[in-house]
């Protein structure tokens, strides 16, 4: 019996593991912040944002089997909504608890807007249309600065209000029981809480009537219809749910960065999130989380490492580390699809078929 199996079978072991994981997650920013420095703490915060995005996309791609290449548009919707409602740009300064849910709702609405005309399309057509949708959103963000300045065009919107909780700004260090908690820690705990909430919602949905309907549509749409599933509504629901997670992450991103510009919402970002889902393990929540972490952290290690290593080997930086990073990324995508099509950490039922001991 493997360690994981033992965990599943023993209530005490499970409780212990949960406790340990909880403590680890609570202590992580201190470990990372003191051990590796603040830049890694920022990366940790970003990893949490990407996990939210990946889980949102996983509902659409992993559960319902609808390949969406424009997912980042929903992230953009959430981010720009925050930017417009809490910055000097329009002089509005609404509180975060109002903006984030509004961002989720608006992104969800955009999800339906995208989903409605594309429902009848087959997989690869859907992919291209969603890709086009993502680009349209970006083009509009880039150009809606004239004649009426809504998005401030390519310059983006800066000076966005930091997230405030209960009157306390997360952008400044906090005093708490005599301790000083740095700003990045505050964001970490907020993002962690929301990421955990999204994990919770996703798990609940997966093991529900709705989640089963999504997977049924992915597996065989016609059979799903014959079972009485209103595939149109259930697909739209997947688009809306997935998009709303993206909207939440986008709002947090805007508050965290204090700056948004169309550049952050390129097709590459959509593909990045898709890779997290696919490489981690489509439809398998722990796999998707793993994918989110790996693809946030590994490229950073690479970014920090590629230059110095080349310096050491050749005495100078021969190859653009950014291009090298993306190159490896593309290769990883191909190799994983060819040799581990279910991802690095597929769900147990899907893993079984690879071992061939299902019977």
């Amino acid at each position: 019996m493997s360690f994981l199996d033992r965990l599943r079978h023993s209530r005490r072991a499970a409780l212990g593991a949960t406790l340990f994981l909880g403590l680890l997650l609570a202590a992580l920013p201190f470990l990372v912040g003191n051990g590796l420095g603040n830049s890694w703490l920022r990366i940790l915060d970003f990893a949490l944002l990407y996990i939210m995005l990946a889980l949102g996309l996983n509902i659409v791609v992993g559960f319902a089997g609808l390949l969406d290449l424009g997912y980042i548009a929903f992230y953009a919707v959430g981010a720009y909504l925050y930017a417009l409602l809490a910055s000097p740009h329009f002089g509005l300064h609404l509180p975060v608890w109002a903006i984030i849910p509004a961002g989720a709702a608006l992104a969800g609405f955009f999800g339906i807007l995208l989903g409605a005309p594309t429902l009848r399309l087959r997989g690869d057509y859907l992919a291209i249309v969603t890709l086009g949708f993502g680009e349209i959103v970006r083009i509009f963000l880039n150009n809606l600065n004239a004649p009426l300045n809504i998005t401030n065009g390519p310059q983006g919107i800066s000076g966005i209000d930091p997230i405030r909780l209960g009157g306390v700004s997360l952008a400044r260090p906090m005093e708490f029981l005599g301790f000083t908690i740095p700003s990045l820690h505050g964001y970490y705990y907020l993002f962690l809480a929301l990421a955990l909430l999204i994990v919770f919602v996703t798990i609940r949905l997966e093991h529900s009537r709705i989640g089963r309907a999504w997977v049924a549509i992915r597996e065989d749409e016609i059979a799903a219809k014959a079972c009485g599933i209103n595939t149109r509504n259930i697909k739209l629901l997947a688009f809306a749910m997935g998009a709303s997670f993206g909207g939440v992450a986008g709002g947090l991103f805007a508050g965290f960065q204090a700056f948004v510009s169309p550049e952050s919402f390129s097709l590459m970002e959509s593909i990045m999130v898709l890779c997290m889902v696919v490489l981690g393990g489509m439809g398998h929540i722990p796999g998707v989380i793993l994918g989110g972490i790996l693809l946030t952290v590994l490229p950073e290690i690479f970014r920090h490492g590629a230059g110095p290593v080349q310096q050491m080997l050749f005495g100078k930086v021969l190859l653009d580390p950014e291009a090298l990073r993306m190159l490896l990324f593309g290769l990883a995508l191909i190799v994983v699809m060819l040799y581990r099509p279910a991802g690095l950490w597929p769900s147990p039922t899907r893993r079984r078929e690879f071992r061939g001991d299902a019977r």
Partner: protein
């Protein structure tokens, strides 16, 4: 100067290029039922290879047309090799896999090609040296350059040649048979692996020509040019009816015209609210409309859903 006529001329030139690239998509789709997502990057590789050779020879004293042809002579084999490799590595092993799988490997291939190009040629825009004759002709108040005339003519020539190849030769017959039903074609002695490889190679050769045309027309090439071009060419293929050669040509020309006329008049249409930098939106808008209202395209038959 007559703006309408000028926009139509520009649209035709643009459309010819789209049509050439669209052929690559539509050939592969016709034979394998698969969108070769990486095709736009092949065009980009073609443009950059040709341009590298042309820049090398620009000051050699050779006539400009010869230099351009030498550039093409270098780009075409490179593109053909790239196309061949893409099919071998990313598509052939996944022929029986779920549809999502080859699409994702194709995205992977796109990323690899793009960044490979970035490593080789850098992030900068590369200017096309002024080696080609740029004489301008007045046509009813609009101007057309000899380069533009050449682009339209060469594109028409290539398309005609491809039509002949597919309709009149043994290879073409094998291609049509494979498109109709690969299993039966195989039973009839067609080596479908070879046919599929050849389809990629031919499509990539057309992509090389298109790449040279784009960079000559806009006097510029860079590692990121393939993405948006590929997307538009794909739109053109869908607009015409993907899988149909004639459709790709029609769709290409139409999309070129729509874009060029749209960009010229969008300001007037929206009362100045939207400007010509929304040109790229047209392609996507057209794509979405076609897919929603007439997914089989303009010349396609009714596409029955496989039940």
């Amino acid at each position: 100067m007559d703006i309408l006529l000028q926009q139509i001329i520009n649209g035709l030139v643009l459309g010819s290029i789209y049509a050439l690239v669209a052929l690559g998509y539509t050939m592969v789709y016709g034979i394998m039922g698969l969108i070769n997502f990486a095709h736009g990057e092949v065009v980009m590789i073609g443009a950059l290879v040709a341009l590298a050779v042309i820049r090398l020879l620009a000051d050699s004293g050779l006539p400009g047309v010869v230099v351009a042809l030498v550039g093409l002579g270098a780009a075409a084999p490179v593109c053909m090799a790239v196309g061949f490799t893409i099919e071998r590595v990313a598509y052939r092993p996944l022929r029986r896999a779920p549809r999502l799988a080859p699409l994702i490997t194709a995205i992977g291939v796109s990323i690899v090609l793009q960044n490979l190009a970035m490593l080789i040629w850098g992030r900068n825009y590369h200017a096309f040296p002024p080696i080609l004759p740029t004489s301008q002709h007045e046509v009813f108040g609009a101007t057309i350059t000899s380069l533009q005339v050449a682009i339209v003519l060469i594109a028409a020539l290539m398309m005609g040649g491809l039509m002949l190849l597919v309709q009149r030769t043994r290879l073409g017959r094998a291609m049509r048979a494979t498109a109709e039903n690969p299993a039966i074609a195989q039973l009839m002695g067609v080596d479908i692996n070879r046919i599929i490889s050849l389809t990629f190679v031919i499509g990539s050769a057309l992509a090389a020509v298109a790449g040279l045309m784009v960079s000559a027309n806009y006097s510029i090439a860079h590692y990121y040019m393939g993405f948006i071009l590929g997307l538009k060419a794909f739109t053109a293929a869908v607009l015409g009816g993907i899988g149909k050669l004639g459709g790709a040509m029609l769709g290409g020309i139409l999309l070129g015209l729509i874009e060029s006329l749209g960009a010229g008049y969008i300001g007037d249409l929206t009362g100045g609210f939207l400007g010509s930098h929304y040109q790229d939106v047209f392609a996507f808008f057209v794509l979405i409309c076609v897919l929603v209202f007439r997914p089989s395209g303009l010349v396609g038959e009714k596409a029955a859903e496989r039940a």
